[in-house]
């Protein structure tokens, strides 16, 4: 159905794809695997005509094709659903599906009825039930994804590329997506599936192609391989156990943060928890269960209905993350690019962002020597790999970018670090490094709250786990109770107490 041969791509003088092959058959789900920066997204952009290969052949249905742009790829039957959706938030599902291809009546007006019927028919075939009349911004992430898929199908896509579709979905939504994928597969659609979750690959995929550093490593059927083998193909080395050992429980450790009550919305559940020095407190739960909002409320960056916090035993009212900084609470936000980094800035300026108060010379001015020395020190503490402190952060890999955001807090007298999805979208090797750093920090007495949607990560890293559901904490588990069954049960079936 789709065959790529010896695809090469250079940006300027740098070759990022060094001769990649890929064969996808009709009626199969084909996993494309590789660490970040392995070239998966670049390859998929080539398949969909968004960028052009420097050399190599693209064959669709036995015919060699050259796509000058996305529209030509669509015409050849290629559909792609990107990580960042391309839907217009204020238009509804139907309007989005037919954007720029609106059906018209004889008078040249919009034929809303025909479009709506066609959209409904496609969604019915996918067994997806979603409201057609509301702006897509009001749909869940999963529903938006289905709209994207339906849009591709409305263009008669026979080759469908799904770029990390499950990254932000809840387990139930993932199941639904897989059901849709199985139906499409049965209908003869060839699906390229990109995911970092290896368990998912084994659940849904038929064959696998692995890339590493822009090179083709190999292909295999799912039945002939296993997780260890895949990880080894991806990283080129065997990773035994990426989680560092947990220290012995210290139940008498000092409580550094006590959240007496936090209520996100009026009428919603009220939660409370304690954070002790030297521990990693995991926040588990489904996407949208209120974990991020809870930590942002503590920092005063989310307008919670109620929030009462004691820091080091003293009641504090934080109105702004700057107050958090003053009280030793730092945040590693969920999204590096949107919330963590100033991408125009160098590493130096990004690390310094909240440190300039410490680099004063004669009160008003910046002491640039001190800035450089402190930044280099912080960079070496978290082991940032870069050309130097003046490199732009947008030239770094995801893992190194994450370390830059962490480094920002190290020159402060911090007690509490909040890590929101610390390893999202970073590769296996960098994940292990971040885990080790977190343990180093707790050994130094920091207390860490870690929000994570990856269950193995929650289980592997947390000393205690608060499980969230529908905006509040439904259970706190520790010790041997930290296992996937226990956490998933609470996350999906926990009883929520609503307080008026």
């Amino acid at each position: 159905m789709l065959e790529l041969k010896d695809i090469r791509k250079s940006f300027g003088r740098i070759e990022v794809l060094h001769g990649v092959d890929l064969q996808v058959k009709a009626g199969e789900v084909h996993a494309l695997l590789g660490e970040n920066g392995a070239g998966k997204s670049t390859l998929m952009k080539i398949v969909s005509g968004i960028i052009q290969p420097s050399s190599g052949t693209i064959i669709v249905d036995g015919q060699e094709r050259h796509f000058a742009n996305y529209d030509e790829a669509i015409a050849a039957g290629v559909g792609i659903v990107f990580q960042e959706f391309s839907l217009i938030p204020y238009l509804n599902a139907v309007e989005n599906m037919f954007l720029a291809r609106e059906k018209k009546t004889a008078l040249g007006l919009l034929d809303r009825k025909a479009m709506r019927e066609r959209a409904a028919a496609i969604l019915r075939k996918l067994e997806v039930d979603l409201p057609l009349d509301v702006p897509v911004a009001r749909l869940s992430v999963a529903e938006q994804q289905f709209v994207e898929i339906a849009k591709a199908l409305s263009l008669d896509a026979r080759i469908l590329v799904l770029d990390e579709p499950t990254a932000t979905l809840t387990p139930a939504e993932v199941e639904h997506l897989f059901k849709v994928m199985r139906e499409l597969r049965a209908a003869g659609v060839a699906i390229v599936f990109i995911s970092h979750h290896l368990e998912e690959i084994f659940e849904i995929c038929d064959r696998i192609t692995v890339l590493r550093d822009g090179e083709y490593v190999g292909s295999s059927t799912v039945a002939e391989t296993n997780i260890d083998q895949l990880v080894e193909m991806m990283v080129g080395r065997r990773i035994e156990n990426s989680f560092p050992a947990k220290p012995a429980a210290k139940p008498d450790a000092k409580v550094v943060l006590e959240v007496e009550e936090v209520q996100l919305r009026r009428g919603g559940p009220v939660s409370s928890f304690q954070l002790r020095s030297g521990e990693i407190l995991g926040f588990a739960g489904l996407v949208g269960s209120g974990r991020t909002e809870t930590v942002l409320s503590i920092l005063g960056a989310y307008p919670a209905a109620r929030c009462k916090v004691r820091v080091g035993g003293v009641e504090k009212r934080l109105r702004d993350p700057a107050d958090g900084l003053a009280h030793g609470i730092g945040l590693l936000p969920e999204s590096r690019k949107e919330q963590g980094l100033v991408t125009d800035f160098s590493i130096l300026q990004n690390v310094s962002l909240n440190n300039y108060g410490k680099y004063r010379q004669g009160h008003w001015f910046i002491d640039f020597k001190k800035e450089l020395a402190c930044t280099e020190d912080a960079m070496s503490q978290v082991r940032v790999k870069a050309q130097g402190p003046r490199a732009r952060v947008d030239t770094l890999s995801g893992g190194n970018q994450q370390k830059v955001v962490i480094a920002r807090w190290l020159n402060h007298d911090m007690q509490i670090l909040i890590f929101d999805e610390p390893t999202r979208g970073i590769d296996v090797g960098a994940k292990a490094e971040i885990y080790q750093l977190m343990r180093d920090f707790t050994a130094r007495g920091y207390a860490i709250i870690m929000i994570s949607s990856e269950l193995p990560e929650v289980i592997g890293m947390s000393d205690r786990v608060c499980v969230f559901r529908s905006g509040g904490i439904v259970a706190t588990v520790e010790g041997s109770a930290i296992n996937s069954e226990e956490i998933m049960t609470h996350a999906t079936t926990g009883r929520v107490q609503h307080v008026a």
Partner: protein, 327 residues
């Protein structure tokens, strides 16, 4: 010895490369090229262009817009915009004149009144944007109307003249051969350069324009910084009003109509990204001078004033088009 010479040659080569690198990557590169091109063209078109008198005259003419553009640069670097500067300048000048003439208070009090008007309206803008969470383009559009109206109400629509003679020093005085307004402008630019490049506050201004959420979540007090940039813009509007009042020797409630657009044009011609986060104050100075040379040169050449506006508009468009992908 020869070893040293080799080293010198190598470092000279590096120096040349660094200079080239700078030329291609600095946001100042394009504005400078524009300035040189336009100057040379004007020099060919008019024999009088490259005379000391005329060049100083150009600088004197750009001083008011040049000063307004300093505050505008701060605001635009954070990703905002300040449409009220022309009207704030007019109100500040009118109030200064009113305090001196109508109330008969000493001139120093009049100048202080101008600064307080600028600071007050700037803080008002900043407060509405930072705490009121309203878009700056709307807030400052409203302030523009309010300030203009207040000036007209206070003065009844007539200029307030009869100022003490020394006020003219700010507008037409000279130190040596250099006009005082030019000196005031250059001092303000120097201070702004130090603030933007050498202080924590300056870094925070750039950070907010680059990624406000990241700055806020890392603990930068973004609201205070936004309040401050609008306050700075108000103060530079007041300083511009002092120069203007000195030149006109009266408080003119109708002065400065459309100056906010010239100030924005100077900032953008100077290579500052309208979305914020990128740009240099020196670029704004170059942009302001570039605008001034265009005005001056087109006059010297004798082009119809209505046509001048069209030409200026086209040149701004062209400059932005060329600079669009420039980094």
């Amino acid at each position: 010895m020869s070893h040293d010479a080799n080293l010198d040659a190598a470092s000279a080569g590096r120096g040349r490369r660094a200079a080239l690198d700078w030329l291609f990557h600095s946001p100042l590169a394009l504005p400078l090229v524009g300035l040189i091109v336009v100057s040379v063209l004007m020099g060919f078109a008019s024999d009088n262009f490259f005379t000391i008198d005329n060049l100083l005259n150009v600088l004197r003419q750009v001083s008011v817009v040049g000063i307004l553009a300093v505050g505008m640069t701060f605001v635009i670097l954070t990703g905002g915009i300040d449409l009220s500067v022309g009207a704030v300048m007019a109100l500040a000048g009118t109030m200064a004149a009113g305090v001196m003439v109508n109330m008969g208070l000493p001139g120093g009090v009049g100048l202080l009144a101008a600064l307080l008007v600028g600071l007050g309206l700037g803080l008002f803008n900043g407060f509405m944007v930072a705490w009121g969470k309203m878009p700056s383009i709307i807030v400052t559009l409203a302030t523009m109307g309010i300030a203009r109206g207040l000036g007209l109400i206070y003065s009844g629509g007539y200029p307030i003249s009869g100022l003490p003679g020394w006020v003219s020093w700010f507008g037409v005085g000279r130190i040596g051969i250099i006009p005082v307004p030019v000196i005031i402008m250059l001092v303000i630019y120097a201070v702004a350069w130090v603030v933007l490049q050498r202080t924590p506050f300056g870094r925070h201004v750039y950070a907010i324009g680059g990624n406000e959420t990241a700055a806020r979540l890392s603990g930068v007090r973004t609201r205070s910084v936004k309040l401050a940039v609008f306050a700075i813009s108000g103060v530079t509007a007041a300083l511009a009003s002092i120069v203007l009042t000195g030149r006109l020797m009266s408080g003119q409630p109708n002065a400065g109509v459309g100056f906010e657009l010239d100030a924005i044009a100077a900032v953008v011609l100077g290579g500052t990204a309208i979305a914020g986060g990128r740009g240099l104050i020196l670029g704004t100075l170059i942009g302001a001078v570039l605008l001034g040379i265009l005005n001056n040169g087109l006059n010297l050449v004798g082009i119809n004033p209505y046509m001048q506006d069209v030409i200026k508009g086209l040149i701004i468009l062209l400059a932005i088009y060329i600079g669009r992908e420039w980094r």
